[in-house]
Symmetry: C2
Subunit: 246 residues, 2 copies
DNA sequence: CGGCTCATGTAAAAGTCGTTCACATGAGCT
DNA sequence: AGCTCATGTGAACGACTTTTACATGAGCCG
C-alpha cells in the first residue's frame, strides 16, 4: 500500500520540491472527477504524497486552493476568448460567434476550471485578484461587443455595447450551465449546445438589425485589420439561423 | 444554552411530531444563508432540536434531504411560472415576458430553492421524481414558446418552438445565475437584471420577426381567451428595447 | 567545510460531520 | 392492559479541516 509513498519519498527526499504546483494539479484532477464540492484537501495531499498538514504551508486553507484554481481558470479563459476573438478577424460577426463557441468549448473541455470558477460557490468579489481576473475575461466579450456595436446598421439606434456584452455573456453562460455540462446535458436536445448558442446569438444580432447571413468563403486575399463591412450581407439566410446545418 | 432544547423537548415530548417538515424548513433556512455546500445535516438536526441521528429516520442521507428541497423548489417554480404565463393573457408577448420576470423573481426571492435546484451539484437525472418535476417546470416555458411560435408573422419561416424555449430558458438562467444572485450580482450593471433580461428577450423576439412594441394599456374590456393579435403592432419601438425606461 | 536558519514537511490532537447500530420511548391498535 | 412499530437517543467509527509542536535539510555565511 504505502510502498509508493515510500518510493516517492526516496525519489524526492523529505522535501517535495514543488508541492504547491503538485497540489494544484491534483486538485484539478479531483475537481474534474468529483466536482468542487466533493474535492477534498486531504485527498489532494495524499495524491501528492505528503501529509494532510503539508498543504497549509502553501495555502491558508481549502478555499484558497480553490481560489487559486479559479484564478488560473479565469486566466486561461481569458486567453482562449482572446484567441477566439482574434481582434475581430476575418470579420466582426464571425469572430464574435467564435467567442461564443470558445466559451462553450472551455466549459466542456475544462470542467474543473469551469466548476471552480462558476459552480464552486466561492465569493468571487471577496478576492480582489480573482475579481480582477474575472473582469479581464469579461472585458474580451465587452471589447468584442464594442466593435460589433460600432457596426450597427445606419438608421437604427446604436445598441449600448455594455448591454450587448452582458446579453451575450448571459446566453453563453446559460447554455453552458444548462446544456453543456453534467446533469442537464443529458437532456435530449434537438440540437447541440454549440448550434443552440449559435442560433441564439444570430437571432439576437438580427434583432439588433445586424446582417447575419453566413458570408461566402473569403476570396483568399488578406482582409485589412478592420474591414469596413458595414452592411455586406442582405439579411435573412434561407431557413433562418436555425435552418438545419449541413 | 441547552435550556431551549430541554424546554422544547418538554413541550413536545420524546417524539417531535413533525420532524420531517421541521428538517426541511431548517435546511431551507440554512441553505439560504450558507449555500447548499455549507449546509450541514447535523446543523439542521440541531435547529430542529433533535439528535444528529434522528434525521436518518426521514431521509436516507443528506443528499435525499437536498433532493426533497430541490423537488419542492421545482414545484413552486412551476407554480410561479404557470401563474406568470396565465395561459397567455392578456397577450402572448406580454405573458411571455412575465414568465421571464417570474424566473428572475424566483431566483431572487427563493435563493435557497434556487440554490438546491441549480447550484447544489446534485445529479438531477439520477432522481426520476426530481427530473420529472424539473421537466414539468420547463414545460411551462415550452408551452409558452409553442404559442408564441404559432404567432410567427406570416411570410417568415416558423421557428421551432422547442428551440425558442431552450433559448429563453438559457437567457433567463444565465441572467439569474450571473447577475441576480450572490457574488456577481454586486457587479455594477448599467441596468437591473430584470431590465437586462427583458431587453434581451425583446431583441431576440424581434430577431425572429415578432412585433415587440409595448401595447397601449388595454381598453378594460376582457379580451377573449386567445386573442388573434397576430400583428397588432408595427415593429420597432422608438429607441429600441433598451431605451431608458421611465 | 561546518554550522545556522528558515522554509518546508510530519505527527498528533481537537473539533466537526456523516453514517450506522443497538437501544429507548411512547402513540395507537387490539 | 399489553404489544408493536415508528421515531428518537447515545455511542462509536472513519474522514475531513485546521492548529501546534517538532523534524528535516537546502542554502547561505563565515
Amino acid at each position: 500500500m504505502s510502498w509508493r509513498k515510500e518510493q516517492r519519498r526516496a525519489e524526492r527526499g523529505y522535501h517535495h520540491g514543488n508541492l504547491k504546483e503538485a497540489l494544484l494539479q491534483a486538485a484539478l484532477g479531483l475537481i474534474a472527477e468529483k466536482g468542487a464540492a466533493g474535492f477534498t484537501f486531504a485527498d489532494a495531499a495524499r495524491m501528492a504524497g505528503v501529509s494532510a498538514a503539508a498543504p497549509y504551508r502553501h495555502f491558508r486553507d481549502r478555499d484558497e486552493l480553490l481560489s487559486s484554481i479559479a484564478q488560473r481558470g479565469f486566466e486561461q479563459f481569458e486567453a482562449r476568448l482572446t484567441a477566439a476573438w482574434d481582434d475581430g478577424r476575418p470579420d466582426t460577426v464571425t469572430a464574435f460567434e467564435r467567442v461564443g463557441k470558445a466559451y462553450l468549448a472551455f466549459a466542456r473541455e475544462e470542467p474543473a476550471f469551469y466548476n471552480a470558477m462558476f459552480e464552486s460557490g466561492l465569493p468571487v468579489d471577496a478576492n480582489p485578484a480573482l475579481q480582477a481576473a474575472s473582469e479581464r475575461a469579461f472585458n474580451i466579450i465587452r471589447a468584442a461587443a464594442e466593435r460589433l456595436a460600432a457596426l450597427a446598421p445606419p438608421g437604427t439606434p446604436r445598441p449600448p455595447a455594455m448591454m450587448m456584452a452582458l446579453h451575450i455573456w448571459s446566453m453563453a453562460h446559460g447554455v453552458a450551465s444548462l446544456f453543456s455540462r453534467g446533469d442537464a446535458a443529458r437532456r435530449k436536445l434537438p440540437m447541440s449546445p454549440d448550434e443552440l448558442l449559435e442560433a441564439e446569438v444570430l437571432i439576437y444580432l438580427r434583432g439588433l438589425g445586424f446582417p447575419t447571413d453566413r458570408r461566402p468563403p473569403a476570396k483568399s486575399a488578406e482582409p485589412p485589420p478592420v474591414p469596413p463591412e458595414a452592411s455586406s450581407g442582405s439579411g435573412v439566410p434561407p431557413g433562418g439561423p436555425w435552418g438545419k446545418p449541413k
